[in-house]
Amino acid sequence: MRNALAIAKKELTLYFTTPWAYVVFTAMLGISSFFFVALLQDFRQAHLLARAYGWERLGPDYGAFKNLTDGVVVNLWNTIAVITLFVAPFLTMRLFAEERRNRTLELLLTLPVRPREIVLGKFLGGVGICSAALGVTIIYPITLALFGASESGRALEWSTVLLGYAGLLLWGATCIAIGMFVSALTESQMLAAILTFAVALVWWLLQGVVVQAEEPWRSIGTHLAFSAELSPLLRGVLDLKSVVFFLSVIFFALVLTDRAVEAQRWT
């Protein structure tokens, strides 16, 4: 474990000494701020309409806008989940590809360290940077809690907000695990990023992809889609099935990475 932590620390050092971490933080904050402001405007619009016509006549689509938690934060978490999908490949692409290009993988594999410690260390480093990037987005619910108001009690329902946030972190870790596996397959960082993005995006959209498919496939696709598994968590529903689903994806990605690192020595 000491070895894994040393490797995680090295990864974090490298993220922060290169521009990557700052670029990703900026992108994350910039894009999510844009959506946050847009969501606030929608929220305000909905309330103006509701004041004029009443919630009943606005239809079910506007139901979510009754409170800040469902109207703004949950929608924002969904948006940030998609941003994470775009951002994570840029964080993971270097994890193994760069070590190969730099010939430092030869160093790691000849030090008294088990390959699985290397994999775990790199994963923890990636999760660390991804959580830091997601961490900056907690300012949005805090802003709402400070300046928002509600007709009944507090402005935000913190249990829902924080569970959604935990779901977001779990989703980030999943993206990192998949990206790390892809990075272990190639020497080219660019290729690693593009492949990771392709895999994660198709998996995310799986529900839409299988909508026309025959029956067994349709159910399987619907249940395996990232978007379908993640949305209850982001809404603040603690669905154990989804948690287990994401933890298994992470676990298998780590095992496959370990195998991929090992396999390279044999070619």
Binding site: R2, N3, A6, I7, K9, K10, T13, L14, T17, T18, N102, R103, T104, E106, L107, L108, L109, T110, L111, P112, V113, R114, R265, W266
Partner: protein, 241 residues
């Protein structure tokens, strides 16, 4: 007692045989010069010894441990400088050496002292705070050597350690390696034959993956300091096969 034992080592890359039935041993405290033309299989052999590549067949033992069966036990005994020094360009020398030392199992309390020791030995003390990508080639090579010395491993495997150094630095590194004899077992690969004469007691010459000579310098007919004749021997052996 022999520190490194290699018997009937063969390494195949798909169709190509890189190392063919290689057998040799290195006694504790000995410095072995590893010679051969480019592509003779030197680097491959070193990679097998360090556990980076698995052998296709044959047995490799370091300090009594089988490389394949107990890779971690072997890796604990070996300091390795690959052909290209394995450096992280964005890290500082200190950060990099700390990282490697931690993975070598150097305790937190001894880290600073161990870093000082290897930097002193390699003359890198005054660049410790600098970022590796800003260092000259010679200093990068020295940081690579410093990395291999961390934790005082019993066996040092150095793949062309004097590559890219100027003549003064070369002499320094040579002295450093000579000073390691006795406490460390060293395998040193190089293209510079006079260097072998100056630092090694024994020489192993590879050609097209096969062992063509393995003996002490004296037995190969070399008088101390006569690089010329080692060169002749080398050329004769590698041309004949």
């Amino acid at each position: 007692m022999s520190m490194i034992e290699v018997s009937h080592l063969t390494k195949r890359y798909r169709e190509r045989i890189a190392v063919d039935d290689l057998t040799f041993s290195v006694a504790q405290g000995e410095i072995l010069g590893f010679l051969g033309p480019n592509g003779a299989g030197k680097t491959t052999t070193m990679r097998v010894l360090t556990g980076f590549l698995p052998a296709s067949s044959g047995l490799v033992k370091v300090a009594g441990h089988d490389v394949f069966e107990e890779p971690l036990a072997v890796k604990r005994q070996i300091g390795y400088l690959p052909e290209t020094p394995p450096l992280y360009p964005e890290m500082t020398v200190r950060g990099y050496l700390r990282f490697v030392a931690t993975l070598r199992g150097v305790g937190r309390g001894q880290l600073a002292a161990e870093l000082d020791r290897v930097c002193q030995a390699t003359g890198t003390t005054h660049v410790m705070g600098r970022v590796i990508q800003n260092l000259s080639k010679g200093f990068r090579q020295r940081v690579g050597i410093a990395q291999a010395l961390l934790g005082s491993p019993a066996v040092l495997i150095l793949d062309e350690p004097t590559e890219g150094l100027d003549p003064i630095q070369r002499a320094e590194v040579r002295e450093l390696i000579k000073g390691l004899a006795g406490q460390h077992t060293v395998i040193l690969s190089t293209h510079i034959l006079p260097e072998v004469v100056m630092t090694c007691e024994k020489v192993l010459i590879l050609h097209q993956g096969r062992l063509v000579a393995f003996d002490t310098l004296a037995a190969l007919g070399q008088a101390e300091g006569s690089a010329e004749s080692l060169e002749e021997t080398f050329l004769r052996l590698t041309r004949a096969a």
